[in-house]
């Protein structure tokens, strides 16, 4: 995939996604996409388009997630789900090496790449941005996995109640990063365009009609309306400046009264990337392994330096997370670390709402200045 391609307008209309998924599987891709499991829309391997959550939507709130029946058969009539694509591109547990004791020392084996080529079907615009953000943070191993991946992105036509991508610098229309881009329309039928050469090669093999101007108009209108339907917003001020000026805000102690420091927000966040390494040995001490695992700034061990953890209070840990996400991420990587997908709001067991916390910080700062 190429990140710099200019958006190509939809050229084709597809009656079904079955041929697309079949073509990708025939090309040797492991096709991953949304599916309904255990009362949630999760990412899993798709064997056919019938695995997609046709006719299912979601009802979201801070700390609350329910699936609901839709009155149509839309496959993408739900917003960002329980997991993000980092499950596949930046897995929770990765083996680094295995060392084995020998008669005259030890050997170290680095496992070869798993060789899985993923095709991601149904990547939302917010997640497309998140994938690119993680790519800029994580470098080569991530880039290798991403390079071999085929991405089918879908414009967002129905934002969830927790979404705020528009005020997080994005929007419901796909930006760069996809190989094929879809817009789901009534039926459901799919406006499609290839954004890359390999995307074009796949699209050319699929049964299709040319997209009519009216169909394109219908798709563009649905996406434009989605932008108007965001229910949550970040304040339109310089957030980097707000966070750097709010180190001593009283709000951190207030949010710490509710925050359980459980780390759910970081685990579901599509850009949070922190990891730890852990070493294991077998009982006999002949084999040692080193693993990379997801970590979180909410883990007390995360800030463990010589002698003990640096951030012992919940308020200091919440402050660290939010300040990095919206503030110092700019200094480190030249952009914000938040794409406005709303997962941290939905999957917080205490229902803490990032947009509300930022607004409260902005309010507190304004009051302090008056």
């Amino acid at each position: 995939m190429v990140l710099t391609r200019k958006r190509v307008l939809p050229t084709a209309m597809l009656d079904s996604l079955s041929p697309l998924i079949a073509a990708l599987r025939a090309d040797g891709y492991s096709v991953i996409g949304p599916t309904l499991r255990d009362g949630a829309i999760v990412l899993a391997e798709l064997t056919s388009a019938s695995d997609l959550p046709h006719g299912w939507g979601v009802e979201l709130d801070a700390g609350s997630y329910r699936v609901r029946r839709r009155d149509d058969d839309a496959a993408f009539g739900h917003s960002s789900g329980a997991q993000s694509w980092k499950t596949y591109l930046h897995p929770a547990k990765v083996p680094f090496w295995t060392a084995q004791k020998t008669s005259d020392g030890f050997t170290v084996d680095v496992p070869p790449p798993d060789g899985i080529r993923y095709a991601f079907v149904g990547v939302r615009p917010c997640d497309l941005r998140a994938i690119a953000i993680q790519g800029r943070v994580l470098g080569s191993s991530y880039a290798a996995r991403l390079e071999s991946a085929f991405i089918v992105a879908v414009d967002c036509t129905e934002p969830g109640e927790a979404c705020f991508c528009v005020t997080a610098g994005g929007g419901p229309a796909c930006g760069p990063g996809a190989d094929i881009q879809l817009t789901e329309t009534v039926g459901p039928r799919y406006l499609a365009s290839a954004q890359t050469t390999i995307g074009q090669a796949v699209l050319d093999t699929l049964p299709q009609q040319p997209a009519t101007p009216a169909e394109r108009e219908q798709g563009a209108t649905a996406v434009a309306q989605a932008a108007e339907r965001m229910q949550r917003h970040l304040p339109s001020i310089d957030l980097r400046d707000l966070l750097s000026g709010s180190r001593n805000a009283a709000r951190w102690d207030e949010v710490a009264q509710r925050c359980l420091a459980c780390g759910n927000c970081t685990m579901v966040c599509p850009t949070c990337f922190c990891t730890s390494v852990r070493d294991t040995t077998d009982l006999g001490g002949d084999i040692a392994q080193r693993w990379q695992t997801w970590d979180s700034c909410f883990d007390l061990d995360f800030s463990y330096l010589h002698g003990g953890p640096v951030r012992t209070s919940t308020s200091s840990r919440y402050r660290q997370w939010l300040s990095h996400k919206l503030g110092t991420w700019h200094d480190q990587f030249g952009e914000s670390g938040c794409v406005g997908c709303g997962r941290c709001i939905v999957w917080c067991p205490a229902g803490i709402d990032l947009t509300e916390e930022v607004s409260a910080l902005a309010q507190e700062r304004q009051t302090d200045h008056e």
């Binding site: 999760v42 710490a256 420091a261 077998d282 009982l283 997801w294 919940t314």
Partner: protein
């Protein structure tokens, strides 16, 4: 000489000792690297101390328990408590919030024969403990990690974070946010998020996560009344 391992039982249900026997695939390897010197649930043959590693199950509930655990401590280089009873008092520590004489008179026909302490306490309340494994029962993987670390002369590694880390790592969708009450966010990880993986809420048998807000303590009274928080 292989290190000597002993397993001791106090007020408990035996389930944590069973976790050691449950290490079916690793049992022969364990036996290859340690001498199982005292483990009555597995064998009536017993070798006297001192012991390199003692695993202690159960809480201290009688005057005799106090004497026994002092002897176990004196005989053991490393003492590891296994399970919620040994680590935090167990279900029987619910008595700590009531009058034990009243319980005794209601439950037993001849209460005067019952020689019990007013409180059920963790092992660490009576003798110094080197490591504590939490849970009801303990996690097999944590037990093996601890034994492996001690046999290899390194520090055992246990998570300080919440059960939520383990749900997210294994891809379990949050049951709490979907409407099932769950103590996972305030409970220490280590079980591999077993209950939520089967659609049930965590009932907190591993006790409060380090750094969980103090107000979460009260919800842990079922298995972990004696847990510090």
């Amino acid at each position: 000489m292989k290190p000597k391992l002993a397993v001791w039982k106090f007020a408990s249900c035996d389930g944590c000792q069973l976790s050691l026997l449950d290490c079916e695939d690793e049992l022969l390897e364990i036996a290859a690297h340690v001498q199982i010197a005292h483990f009555l649930e597995a064998s009536s043959a017993s070798v006297c101390g001192p012991y390199d590693i003692s695993l202690v199950e159960g809480s201290v509930t009688t005057p005799l328990d106090v004497e026994r655990i002092r002897q176990v401590r004196a005989d053991s280089k490393q003492l590891i408590t296994i399970g919620a009873c040994a680590t935090a008092g167990g279900i029987q520590a619910l008595r700590n919030f009531a009058d034990v004489d009243e319980f005794r008179s209601i439950v037993y026909a001849r209460p005067e024969f019952i020689d019990t302490l007013a409180e059920s306490t963790p092992i660490a309340a009576v003798v110094p403990v080197d490591y504590e494994l939490r849970g009801c029962p303990i996690d097999r993987g944590q037990l093996l990690e601890t034994l492996s670390a001690l046999l290899n002369g390194r520090r055992p590694r246990g998570p300080l974070h919440s059960v939520c880390f383990e749900c997210k790592t294994r891809g379990t969708t949050c049951v709490l946010v979907k409407g099932t009450p769950c103590l996972g966010p305030a409970t220490q990880a280590g079980c591999g998020a077993l209950c939520p993986a089967y659609g049930r809420g965590c009932y907190g048998c591993f006790g409060p996560a380090t750094g969980a807000p103090a107000h979460a303590k009260k919800v842990f009274n079922l298995f972990n009344s004696g847990a510090p928080s």
